[in-house]
Amino acid sequence: MKGFKKTYLIFFFTVPTIIEGCVEPFNAETQGFENALVIDAKLTDEFKRHQIELSRARPFEQDTIIAEMNATVTIIEDANNFYDFHEVEQGQYISVNEFDAKQNSSYELRITTSDGKSYSSEAVTTPEKIVIDNLYVEEETNNLGEEGISILLDSRSITSGASYFRYEYEETYKIIAPYWNPFDFDVIDDKGVGEDGDYFEVGLKPKEREERVCYNTAFSMAINQTATNGLEDNKLERHSIRFINKNNYIISHRYSILVRQHAQNPDAFSYYQSLNAFSSSENVFFENQPGFLLGNISSESSSDEKILGFFEVTAVTSKRIYFNYKDLFPTEPLPPYYINCEPVQEPLLWLPTADTHSFDGAGRSPLIEAIQAGLIKYYATNPDYVETFSIDDLSESTRGPYFAKATACGDCNVLGSNIKPDFWIE
């Protein structure tokens, strides 16, 4: 038990225990802002160009990231191999050469910012690589009583010591627009009589791009961690990567998830764990005492300077799975679409302005405005439409030429991309 680390199995507290007495959101105002360098540096054992992001902390009032530019970034392997990084985008530094973190080697991050301050990390060794045994999906009811599916993972540490893991996922799902139509509106004349002496005109044309089937990819944002200490034989089973409610449209058709298992060092594990604890919904009755989280990077000039972030070296394995909703819930209807597609819209082609008696047909076109604003997609042609550009013929019962649906109902590009990812397997 000597090697027993302080980070003993506390994962059950990070189970989303949301008890909120009388909790209201409020707009946080910055009080006593302190500037600080943020270092997001993750080195893995994958052979690739690694990326390091440098930015600055910012007040709550500021939404956009402040990039830290023109810094010199280097990773030193075993105190003698230098891997230089260069800035490819503002604040994004990529290694000049491809390399990987090797077992039994140690790595140190060195940064010199444009104002001449130097920072260095502790030397970090690469943890042992541990493969994912199994990644699978199961129907489950979560602890809030919601029905859905859980993506679960089994893994086994081959060493005698405990292993610490952090998980990231990348989920890709197929989207099918429920009211897709091969035809699109074709705005032939978007100017009324008042402007060009001609009436508004909207026709139809075949769609020019794929709008029925799309794919969207999203990345995990929450911190998901677990450790095998306290588990029999260091064997991890049924670790929950993600729970998706049965009625979430993302699993309507085909869904794929790529899970990356980062074997972490205990220090990194505990850093992420505290970061997560300080930023999770908490129990109203007992609040974790927050404070500044000391990472593994320090300033060479001033030991008191606060540096946010961590230099993490991990050994990564990944696994991807696919599943179809129909296979999991063969008898159930599909989950509702992202938006409600029931309402049928029927915008008028022409709506006169008040004093256009002398110029019938002058005014505006709600239909063309909606098309041009990207709000609607063609659904069907109105058989009862009677063309009218005379104010005298206009009445309560005047109809529009076409039936339309909200754009997302007829064009999946609103929710994803029509380009099928390379890895996608049907």
Binding site: I19, A28, T30, E53, P59, E140, E237, S270, S279
Partner: protein, 925 residues
């Protein structure tokens, strides 16, 4: 008026002067005679004639044998154990007197009464044992009707004193229970005393006639003319008065606040808290305590009390001498004490009597009631949260009685009453039971045994169940050796435990638990040496067994491997001596010393770290093993408890005190307020005990015959080796806990004002406190430093604190009460900015507790309706209707920041943000 005395006396003197001739010798033998028969025998064989009242003699049987004895010798033996005196007149008439002695010469200086100086000389002589006859004159005191006259003691010619000791018990005529805190006043002497918890009093009374009057809340006043001839005993049996329903909220002994030597002590009677509106109508003496200056908590829903800037683990809660680790239910919102079975609490926040030790900030000495020994009775209540029943069952009439109390929450709906959707999956319930048995073996021996158990369980998500419980058993034996010496033996055992059961979807179900158990034996003695010195001394020993945590799998599927942090054991001992010194009416001094000694015991593995380095995995250089009962580490030292009083006038005094303490057991908590899963950790080779010193100074003044009490107290307190933790510390199941612990300094100071009115139609108190509580964790190493090693405010540093508790009695049946509190918002650690990391936004924190949440204020109101007072009625009922937080103020309790969906969201929480009405029905039978 003096003239009548002279006449009365001279009558005798004339005759006595003739009475000095040699008396005849008598030979006499008698067995099992009444005194009257003995007189007859003497009358038959001599010329003596006895003059007496038959009733004086009684039926007592006597035996004796005399040969040529003097009459004086025979009668002296005969009357030895009675209050009779005799005088032989003219060698043949034997005059018996009750109490009085018949003088045959005048006391020295009898005829120089006109000379003031001479009189003073005389009185001094009297102190040295000269004759000091007791004369009673009808004119001396106004005769009052229905005042019974009692004669105490037998006057003797030898060893006469100016004052005698009168003692006795005061009991309730109806219940037979002792009446504590009853004032006994000698009206014509302007002195008085107060009964102790056993209804016992002892007072030094001038010889002669004394008009005693008893005064206590809810007890009918009684007057007695007491003629004092010698030391003696006088018991009072008093009736309850209609005024029992007086709404006095907090009652200290009438002049206790001015007269007591120690500073910073308060008494709260449970019964008196019944009118103070409390959340959901639950009586709560601990919440009432927080309305008093110097006692606060971090906020609603924060278990734990902070006393004079001390941490929540620095309070010793004793229930009939046994420790209760967590005397609250449901995150501190309710007290875990049965209000009917609880008599009250004595709170020591300044000078702590030397008898107590082991916690730095305060002692809450809670006692349960003594059961009714005469008739079966009880009390019950039905409130929105709990049902509550307490029964008093006499076992042996006038000797022993059993009290049983039980209390439980009906259901889980408290959580739902918090009006929060996310709590719909939550549940919470609790109960507590208490029982005690008191047995009065005889006048000198009394035994009280108490058992207590409380249990809480709550679940916040459907897959986890938290539970905690307290258990306490104690036996107290009070023994009176003689008039001057008494002692008590207290043996107790306490246990606090919590567990978390997890039963989720995955195969990692487990049960995690913790427990601390202690067993204590305490022997204490009191020696009343004289009017000047009263000594308290004793010895105590306590054994701790802590199970710092275990986890085991539940269900056959679970892949959790069982693990247990090895048990910690320790022995804490103490020896103490204190002397209460009264130097005249003006000066009082209480000087105490306690020497406490602590030994951490094996079996144990203690980790060793590089000296002068922060303690972490990297500086861990090894460990040392200790065998069973081997000494791991010892700590200890003297603790001084000194305080003094100077009375400018009888109702105005100045007090000062110095108090030092040691604490060997600490809570481990990484939350900003107390949580039920905080664990207690014993000091060991890596964790030192906490120590504190407190200086206090106060002015105490009573106005208008003690109707108003005003006090101003200031204190300055320092603490060493108080515990805190590194940011993000993991404390549960951590074997190397010392790697997370920081020990630093504490500093607290404040001024407390309290104005209290104890009786009348309007009563209550108004308190204001200005106080600060600061802590400091300095180190050469960044990881062991908090806020740059400078002093910073603790989580419960609330400089301004105002509380008002008022009760107005419209009639004997209707009263209204009001409770207001205002406090500066507590310090919080507020983020100083945000940043992006790992694909999400996060906030970051800098210094701890640099900001404050908005100020706290709350108003509660209540209406109390007594049932009618028909004597024959089966039960006396009492309705309490109250509204907690009438203003509906959503007092912020905490602010927190959540990273959700990659974005930071800010939230503020409050516990009771809406007015909470409740109605409680109580009845007594």
């Amino acid at each position: 008026m003096r003239n009548t005395i002279f006449v009365f006396l001279l009558l005798f003197v004339n005759n006595f002067l003739l009475a000095q001739e040699s008396p005849p010798k008598i030979s006499l033998t008698y067995t099992d005679f009444t005194i009257k028969d003995v007189f007859k025998s003497i009358e038959d064989s001599t010329d003596y004639t006895f003059y007496y009242v038959d009733e004086w003699l009684g039926d007592k049987k006597v035996s004796g044998s005399y040969q040529d004895a003097d009459l004086n010798e025979i009668l002296g033996d005969l009357f030895e154990s009675t209050i009779l005196n005799f005088y032989v007149l003219d060698n043949e008439k034997v005059v018996l007197t009750q109490n009085n002695i018949i003088y045959d010469e005048l006391p020295t200086g009898f005829f120089v009464k006109s000379n003031q100086e001479q009189i003073q000389v005389t009185e001094e002589l009297e102190d040295n044992g000269s004759q000091n006859p007791v004369f009673v004159s009808d004119e001396r005191l106004p005769r009052q009707r229905n005042v019974e006259t009692v004669r105490i003691g037998k006057e003797t010619l030898e060893g006469q004193k100016r004052r005698y000791i009168l003692s006795g018990y005061v009991r309730n005529a109806k219940t037979g229970r002792p009446i504590p805190d009853l004032s006994l006043i000698i009206r014509n002497r302007k002195v008085g005393t107060v009964t102790d918890e056993n209804g016992f009093y002892e007072i030094s009374v001038p010889v002669g006639e004394n008009l005693f009057e008893t005064k206590a809340l809810g007890i009918e006043s009684q007057q007695k003319r007491v003629l004092i001839y010698n030391d003696g005993q006088l018991d009072f049996t008093l009736n309850e008065s209609i005024e029992q329903l007086d709404e006095v909220v907090v009652e200290a002994d009438k002049t206790k606040n001015v007269e007591e030597e120690i500073t910073g002590s308060t008494t709260i009677e449970s019964e008196e808290t019944k009118d103070i509106p409390m959340v959901l109508g639950e009586r709560n003496i601990l919440s009432v305590a927080t309305q008093l200056p110097g006692i606060t908590n971090a906020g609603e829903g924060a278990s734990g009390i902070n006393v004079r800037g001390g941490k929540t683990d620095q309070n010793l809660f004793l229930l009939d001498e046994g420790v209760v680790y967590n005397p609250t239910h449901f995150f501190g919102i309710f007290q875990a004490l049965n209000p009917f079975a609880t008599k009250g609490v004595d709170i020591y926040k300044g000078n702590v009597p030397a008898e107590y030790g082991g916690r730095l900030s305060s002692v809450f000495d809670i006692t349960t009631i003594d059961g009714n020994t005469e008739k079966f009775s009880g009390e019950a209540s039905i409130g929105p949260v709990t049902g509550n029943l307490m029964l008093e069952i006499p076992i042996v009439k006038d000797k022993s009685s059993l009290v049983i109390g039980g209390r439980g929450a009906y259901s889980d709906w408290i959580l739902r009453s918090l009006d929060e959707e996310s709590l719909s999956n939550s549940s919470a319930s609790f109960y507590d039971v208490v029982a005690n048995y008191t047995h009065k073996i005889n006048e000198n021996n009394q035994i009280k045994a108490t058992g207590y158990y409380s249990d809480d369980s709550f679940s916040i998500t459907s897959d986890s169940l938290f539970g905690y419980n307290n258990r306490m058993l104690s036996v107290n034996w009070n023994h009176k050796f003689n008039e001057k010496n008494s002692g008590a033996l207290a043996v107790s055992n306490s246990k606090y435990a919590f567990d978390i059961g997890f039963d989720g979807q995955a195969n990692n179900d487990f049960l995690l638990g913790y427990s601390v158990e202690e067993t204590e034996a305490k022997l204490k003695f009191k020696y009343v040496m004289n009017d000047t010195h009263t000594f308290d001394y004793g010895v105590a020993a306590k054994l701790y067994n802590v199970n710092p945590g275990f986890i085991r799998p539940t269900g056959s599927e679970s892949i959790i491997s069982p693990f247990e942090v090895p048990e910690d054991r320790a022995l804490e001992g103490a020896i103490y001596l204190s002397d209460n010194i009264t130097l005249g009416d003006k000066v009082g001094l209480s000087a105490g010393i306690r020497y406490s000694y602590y030994t951490a015991l094996g079996p144990s593995t203690q980790r060793v770290y590089t000296d002068g380095q922060p303690r972490n995995q990297a500086t861990l250089i090894g460990s040392s093993e200790f065998d069973d009962n081997e000494t791991v580490e010892t700590y200890g030292g003297p603790e001084f408890r000194v305080s003094g009083r100077y009375s400018f006038t009888p109702d105005f005094s100045l007090k000062a005190g110095f108090n030092s303490m040691y604490q060997y057991i600490h809570t481990l908590s990484n939350t900003t307020t107390v949580s039920p899963i905080d664990t207690w950790k014993l000091s060991d080779s890596n964790i030192r005990p906490q120590r504190s010193n407190q200086f206090s100074l106060g002015l105490f003044k009573n106005f208008k015959d003690d109707l108003y009490e005003l006090s101003v107290e200031g204190y300055y307190k320092t603490a060493e080796d108080v515990l805190d933790f590194k940011t993000g510390a993991q404390l549960l199941l951590n074997e190397n806990i010392e790697q997370e612990v920081l020990q630093g300094e504490g500093q607290a100071y404040g001024v407390e004002f309290l104005l209290r009115k104890n009786s009348g139609k309007l009563n209550g108190w108004l308190g204001y406190t200005y106080s600060r509580s600061l802590i400091k964790f300095a180190s050469d190493f960044t990881e062991e430093r908090i806020n740059g090693g400078e002093f910073f405010p603790s989580n419960y540093d609330k400089p301004h604190d105002v509380s008002l508790v008022a009760n107005y009695k419209f009639t004997t049946r209707y009263s209204a009460s009001l409770n207001f509190s205002y406090q500066t918002g507590r310090p919080v650690t507020y983020p100083i900015g945000q940043y992006n990391f790992n694909n999400s936004e996060y906030v970051f924190y800098s210094n701890r507790n640099e900001f404050r949440i908005p100020d706290y204020y709350r108003l509660d109101i209540g209406i109390n309706i007594e049932g009618n007072h028909r004597i024959k009625k089966f039960a006396h009922s009492f309705w309490n209707i109250s509204v907690y937080n009438v203003l509906g103020r959503a007092n912020p309790y905490s602010v927190f920041f959540v990273s959700e969906g990659g974005e930071v969201k800010a939230f503020k929480s409050s516990i009771f943000s809406i007015p909470i009405p409740s109605i409680t029905y109580n009845f007594k039978f």
